[in-house]
């Protein structure tokens, strides 16, 4: 169940401690000085805390059905630090804490949808890899159908022409 795919140091923000870098204001001397300081300090080991991982970050739940539900949810929740990975795939410390949160809530009897809604209420749909059907996302669901219809229309014209020749 463990997958060792570390979030790369560049992504993990080894120097800044977070992936979501604050955008520097151009031409700011102080910013430049701070970044120069951050670049000069040998601190890659400080990107993560010194505390051990959370209890359920890398430990499966005892009940196989609960673990299955927790794992399925983790695969559709996006890591806040390594922003291209699901938390089930990420080695970022924060992803471990989110796995622990999900396992403990599943164990306490919450449904995966309740936990997803709790996270979406805090981070927006961004955090979920299972986008809901709403005005902003309808092209995502409608485009395949439209393309299929376009394909059928093209094919129909092709098949029509042939017997005429």
């Amino acid at each position: 169940m463990r997958m060792r795919r570390p979030c790369s140091p560049a992504k993990a923000g080894a120097r800044t401690g977070r992936c979501t870098r604050p955008r520097p204001a151009p031409g700011n001397m102080l910013h430049g000085a701070v970044y120069a300081f951050l670049l000069a300090s040998p601190t890659p080991a400080l990107a993560d805390s010194l505390l051990p991982p959370a209890e359920y970050a890398d430990t499966q739940l005892a009940d196989p059905a609960q673990e299955r539900a927790a794992k399925a949810l983790m695969e559709t929740i996006r890591c806040l630090v390594c922003q291209g990975q699901a938390i089930s795939d990420s080695d970022a410390e924060m992803a471990g804490d989110m796995r622990a949160l999900i396992r403990q809530r599943i164990q306490a009897g919450e449904s995966p949808d309740q936990i997803r809604d709790w996270l979406v209420a805090r981070y927006g749909n961004w955090v979920s890899y299972d986008p809901p059907l709403e005005p902003l996302t309808w092209p995502l669901w409608g485009a395949p159908i439209l393309l299929l219809l376009a394909g059928l229309w093209l094919a129909r014209n092709r098949f029509k022409r042939r017997p005429r020749r």
Partner: protein, 175 residues
């Protein structure tokens, strides 16, 4: 009509490339703002991070005065860079509470001794439960909470000198 059909694939291709190019050249924005801005701060009760000092309970945010809560950690390098700005806010009389994420007391004590201690209270969030409940995606982050416990402002990343006016303005507006 026939001419239009002939040109359609090229037009579609150009449109597609325009979308791709726009996505490639747009500056990336990796900040994830909390959806709880404008909402009540979640209930929590964190134990003290340091012996002999108060921990942080969400009850203090409903006492009628706005407060600032700073999510930080001794292992977080930008937190060192923002320490002078937090000291400046404290000097101006802004009450600052700390949430120390995944920190050990000895590391925290060293951090406060080295970079200053502007905090009224420091709660220990060792499993990141409160950080996640607040919708925070990293350290450091700072929230301005009004006297009724409503989150009014979120600052993502280290507070730099040019960020102080916006935070003071949010604090004043929360009164």
């Amino acid at each position: 009509m026939k001419r239009l059909v002939l040109w359609t694939p090229l037009i579609v291709f150009v449109l597609f490339m325009a979308v791709v190019a726009a996505g490639l050249y747009a500056p990336s924005d990796r900040t994830i703002p909390s959806r709880l801005v404008g909402q009540p701060i979640p209930q929590f009760d964190l134990p003290p991070s340091l012996p002999g000092r108060p921990g942080l309970s969400s009850a203090v945010f409903r006492q009628g005065r706005p407060r600032i809560v700073n999510i930080f950690a001794s292992w977080c390098v930008p937190c060192r860079a923002e320490a002078p700005q937090l000291a400046e806010l404290a000097r101006r009389g802004v009450p600052i509470d700390g949430i120390a994420v995944r920190d050990r007391p000895q590391d925290l004590a060293g951090f406060l001794a080295g970079y200053g201690d502007p905090f009224r209270t420091i709660g220990a969030d060792n499993d990141r439960r409160v950080q996640l409940a607040l919708g925070s995606a990293g350290v450091p982050e700072t929230f301005v909470v009004d006297g009724r416990g409503i989150i009014r402002h979120q600052h993502i990343g280290a507070i730099m000198a040019q960020d102080i006016p916006a935070i003071v303005a949010a604090y004043e507006a929360a009164r």
